[in-house]
């Protein structure tokens, strides 16, 4: 009776156990040889440079719409001139890291799950092992390292273009002088905000890539399985980004402010 009651829990618990095992293998692989340097560089390029265009567009439009919406609200309190501070603080602390992470989860997380999933169902991962290569070192470590390193860089770029986007809207639509906007943008940002905006994407990059790798390496069932893995990766990573962001924000506020 009790066993039957817990049956639906078995699969999620197994998945968490396997995920933690993957993280353990990743950690062990980081401190021992061999390290596949060329694969790391390749992934830095694919994840970083490959995501640049979409991150630029996302950051710019987010900053612009934030300025438009906030302008209306700030008008009610007669502080339209504070628009720069609001845009910069919102972008750097929250919107930049989270939206960039969500975009990367959609683009990179799904890509990792699809690629590793395809390799699983076509026996390429088994072939790697048969040829003497540890798939964790060859496939997982480069992807997690690259995503962890590149997400902060992409986030800084998204923050920057977002604030610039806000400046464009402020000066053209809200008629706030550019110098007023930038003064407010700089005054509204504190060093702790910048740290928060840099720490979050490091953790989120790790979460996205590790989930993509875990889901990809657990793929079964041919091309249908690859499709399922890709969807699962995006859904799980997106929810995880929002949940981890909340927990991280709470932790960082408690520690830093």
């Amino acid at each position: 009776m009790a066993a039957g009651l817990f049956d639906p829990m078995k699969k999620p618990i197994l998945e968490v156990q396997e995920y933690l095992r993957l993280i353990g293998q990743f950690a062990r692989g980081l401190v021992s040889r061999p390290i596949y340097g060329r694969d790391i560089v390749e992934q830095l390029d694919q994840i970083g440079v490959g995501s640049l265009a979409v991150v630029l567009l996302t950051g710019t439009f987010t900053g612009m719409v934030l300025a438009l919406q906030s302008g209306l609200t700030l008008d009610r309190f007669g502080v339209r001139t504070e628009i720069g501070g609001l845009v910069s603080a919102s972008m750097v602390k929250e919107l930049g890291p989270v939206l960039t992470a969500l975009i990367v989860a959609g683009r990179v997380g799904s890509g990792i799950a699809a690629e590793l999933g395809s390799m699983m169902v076509t026996d390429q991962v088994a072939a790697l092992r048969a040829l003497g290569t540890d798939p964790i070192r060859k496939l997982v470590i480069p992807r997690i390292l690259a995503a962890t390193a590149m997400l902060p860089v992409l986030t800084v770029i998204a923050d920057a273009v977002g604030v610039v986007g806000g400046a464009i809207i402020s000066s053209t639509q809200l008629k706030v002088a550019t110098s007023v906007y930038w003064n407010s943008a700089v005054d509204g940002l504190y060093l702790d905000d910048v740290w928060m905006g840099l720490i979050k994407p490091v953790v989120l990059g790790f979460v996205i890539a590790s989930i993509g790798c875990h889901v990809g390496l657990r793929t079964k069932g041919g091309t249908q399985g690859v499709g399922r893995a890709t969807t699962n990766s995006v859904v799980i990573a997106s929810v995880a980004v929002l949940a981890v962001d909340f927990l991280l924000t709470k932790l960082l506020i408690a520690v830093m402010y």
Partner: protein, 283 residues
Amino acid sequence: MPVDALIEAQAPPGTLAAGTPAVLFEDVSLAFDDKVVLEHLSFSLMPGTMKVFLGASGAGKSTILRLILGLLRPDAGAIWVHGRRVDQLTEAELMPVRAELGMVFQEGALFDSLTVRENTGYRLFEETRQPIADVDVRVQEVLGFVGLRDYAERMPSDISGGQRRRVAIARALASRPRTLLYDEPTTGLDPITALTVDAEIIKLRDLEHVSSIIVTHQLRDAFYVATHRAVTGEDGTVAIRPAPAGDPDDTRFIMLKDGGIGFEGTAAELRATSDAYLRAFLS
């Protein structure tokens, strides 16, 4: 061979005591959940010989190859590969054992982001410190062996199914393995292309003296491999000829049935069997 003798024979890679099997299964059992795949399976493969595994789908043929490579672990029993007990080794300890094994996967399992050259020399490029020039020489050599020297810079998606299978053989062969494992090497190929793959298998057995295990459904190919020999002519060309009468037959067929061995014998013995199940399988 008793286990004690094998433990004594646990020699560094590259050496193998006389009389030590290349592969030895002792009472191996494996089940996936409630489904028993192998039950008390025992067999041995002596160096330079060939075993052909036949059986219905799901009989555990491919599982045997994965157990040999250490990709799966048995629930019970012992598996020895080149004198080392692989079922007790860690992933890192398995690497030198795998370096002496070559595996040709079903459908080839070529890395689709790498060229034929990179696929073929993968282990040498990635897992050894050999100079790239030396690796390229070896890659050209094995691609020449399977007749694909001109395809080195092609991607796997740009070559045919039969060529992919031959690249997989070249990849398995590149690091000079002592034992080759073939998982359905000719399944899905047309008869003519399948014969070219069969010819490579025969050449490796007869000219390179590589021990091999073939898992297949293709009886025609299995019998062809068992009953033909590779011979080198005076001008150095290699030809595949029917085995002369009285030629020692080192190829043994094993039919898996109900998790164990339903039949073990030569091609002639298999053809002459009166067992109803085997007759149904052969018909």
